[in-house]
Symmetry: C2
Subunit: 451 residues, 2 copies
């Protein structure tokens, strides 16, 4: 009994370090497997940069492809990619939950109860419990998507059952874990609702993040009104809804007559494509064929969306919608002359505000450095460099073609962005949430002039 608690405690003491070891080990193993001739269709040794990039892209659930997944990799290679996506997605959800759990364990009992409740982990005081729920939720979501995809994929593949099963599995895993790899060389069949809609919904639920989904399920089961949702759930849902509505409006207004993006002269079809384009960029990155066709203005808009990203503790990346919301709430409080940052009749703690500011600043600096390095190494336009850096950092999975197999330096830059995008905000959030010793010296305040 004592022994078990001590292992748990040791695991929980350094979740940041633990997640680095987990992802580091997986990157080495997967790169090694993808380097083997058995992983490719042509039975050749893959270049190291391509194998490494694909391993990082899959494990970080980013999904930017450097080669055509369905054509270049053999069935063995595709299975390796699929496992990488699954372990990458499970890994980040588990570690994020463990960080939250680790924080709650260290707080005082009264606060701890509150936090545990907020995270929807009331009865999960151990890692095993977290793992079970994360795994269970993933399996349920993926099996549901898998089943829903079967009928229409069966038709697409002209009755080839083996192919249908494999593609349904790949899409199901890829969608819930928000990775944009497609097993089909022709890309995603977004025009067919039977394929597009289950993927869209699964990816969308994946972007909300584990704590939100769990809280929603628990509240629904106990028949609690939306007023009883946690602040985190409310903030995530409202911000996500605003972002999706804005994107939808943007794509319909700005890109309506862009034939590269909306080929058919059919309003219904345009609506479906715009909906897909509005939900996907923040996370999934499926159906990338149209991305290089958008206007430069849309590239900038999408870069901002991708930078904001999706929900905390989700497999999608970015600075997270709650971080973005907190920054906006700080501005609102400041402009209206308030000192307390409040929303939904709750006060946002000071520590959370500092985390939001520093995550945003650090990530912005990271994306800018990455974009500059891409400009130096590939000579691409600033707008493309920003797009590619945002996509890699926020694990969006879209690409305008800056990174290519012919330029290893660009692949390594994007790999670095993906790794930091995967581990960075989590680690920052963790390092700030460490128990704080009371300040040994409290210096006097002095005013300065800003603005």
């Amino acid at each position: 009994r004592i022994r078990r608690i001590s292992i748990t405690d040791r695991l929980l003491r350094h979740p940041g370090r633990l997640s680095m070891v987990y992802f580091g080990a997986l990157i080495i193993i997967v790169t090694g497997l993808l380097l083997l001739p058995i992983s490719t269709s042509d039975i050749i040794f893959t270049n190291f940069p391509i194998a490494f990039f694909t391993a990082v892209s899959a494990l970080s659930t980013c999904g930017i492809p450097v080669v055509n997944t369905g054509e270049y990799w053999s069935m063995f290679g595709q299975v390796v990619v699929l496992f990488s996506i699954q372990f990458g997605g499970l890994g980040v959800m588990t570690f994020a939950s463990m960080v939250a759990l680790g924080v709650s364990r260290r707080l005082k009992v009264s606060q701890r109860m509150l936090t545990a409740n907020e995270l929807g982990t009331t009865k999960l005081s151990e890692v095993k419990g977290v793992l079970t729920v994360v795994l269970g939720t993933s399996i349920i979501a993926e099996v549901l998507t898998f089943v829903l995809l079967l009928p229409d994929l069966f038709r697409v593949n002209h009755g080839n059952m083996g192919r249908t099963l494999w593609q349904a599995l790949f899409y199901a895993v890829s969608a819930y874990n928000n990775t944009g790899f497609t097993p089909d060389a022709t890309g995603l069949h977004v025009n067919r609702w039977g394929v597009g809609l289950p993927i869209l919904i699964s990816a969308f639920i994946g972007t909300l993040g584990f704590p939100v989904v769990l809280n929603l399920v628990q509240c629904a089961r106990r028949r609690l009104s939306p007023k009883r949702w946690t602040l985190h759930t409310k903030l995530t849902l409202v911000t996500t809804a605003v972002l999706v509505a804005t994107s939808l409006a943007w794509f319909l207004l700005v890109e309506w007559s862009n034939t590269g993006l909306f080929p058919a002269d059919d309003p219904g079809m345009k609506m479906r494509r715009a909906m897909s384009a509005a939900v996907m960029p923040r996370s999934a990155g499926f159906d990338i064929s149209w991305v290089p066709e958008v206007t430069n203005e849309t590239k900038v808009f999408m870069s901002i969306l991708m930078f904001i990203g999706a929900g905390s503790s989700s497999t999608a990346g970015g600075i997270r919608v709650t971080t973005f919301a907190v920054i906006l709430l700080i501005c609102r409080a400041a402009f209206t002359g308030h000192r307390d940052v409040t929303v939904f009749r709750r006060r946002i703690p000071r520590r959370i505000q500092m985390t939001a500011v520093s995550v945003t600043t650090a990530c912005f600096a990271l994306v800018m450095v990455g974009a500059m390095m891409l400009m130096f190494t590939t000579g691409c336009a600033f707008v493309d460099a920003v797009f590619e850096a945002c996509s890699a950092f926020s694990l969006g999975g879209y690409s305008v073609g800056v990174a290519s197999a012919g330029n290893p330096a660009s692949l390594f830059i994007l790999s670095a962005e993906m790794i930091v995008g995967r581990l960075g905000p989590l680690t920052i959030a963790y390092s700030i949430s460490r128990p704080m010793a009371p300040e040994p010296i409290r210096y006097p305040q002095e005013n300065i002039i800003v603005g």
Copy 2:
């Protein structure tokens, strides 16, 4: 006695509104004067967009030219521009000081003494006093620059005394007020130290901001050690030094072999040009001929520098170096697990932190919206749009040629950026510094997950 205090109080009650009225009235008057045929060399009626843009550019001390100042405008027109620069510069320094003063008046006596001392306005409890000191400082700085410029300008103009006096006056006013207009059609003689150095020093002092200059002068007069400088002075000087050193290194490393920027194959000459390029972009914007020649990477770097801008209450713009420093200090505190944001053994008040975050966020949004609108109206590249929007917002005065007389929409977009760049951060800072009523309801805290 009672009457005088009541006028002062009324003036101090709404410095934000007062500065809007002041700049609004001046923009109307100056635009009207520049529209007249007497203002142009060719005695023609100027187009409204050109006159409006030039008036805003001069009054905001931005200095982006849309026509060649020395060729297009007559002597009368140039005098109007010169007066605009002087009144624009004086206006912002006065209003910024009044905002600070107004804030200090409202605080409790003990805090008030401290604030007044920090601002270097110990004995200036009235608007008249502030005006006197601002005016006095400006006159001293401008007369000094004027005298220092005379000998070398006399040589440049081949002994033409009238021309020399006029150019020296124009450069002296333009430099201290950090406006990049040049009276000479051939541009600034940056290669001659006799012209370049006084302008560089005057512009640099102008970027520090009125409170810093005053504090330095007072400390020097009382022979106080640098340790006794105010926190505001220390933070401004250190951040400015780091930014200038970084720019210098950047220009020497990245642009060393760019013949467009450094034409001569002479290291000393390259050094002088790099020094000028390192100091100017954040503020003055003289010598713009080389700007379109820089690489895209340098344009991005300069955009960031311009966005950060110069000192508070200075004629230069941007979010101000102290705002930038506070953001970095919040990050440092967060990463090292501290709750107090401290620097130089002083604690940065909570209100200042909120102001810094909201000024930065609002200004970033403004620049992005401006850049997007420039892309829509002119079809220019993203990097050029960002550069131009940053330059206009932060009153930098450089241009890569996005705005042109042929495209009125682009001129109005940049004018809007300049006006908001001039009044925005000040107004935001003021609205936040308003007296805060104690929160009527204090909501309970609730944790959310960010990052």
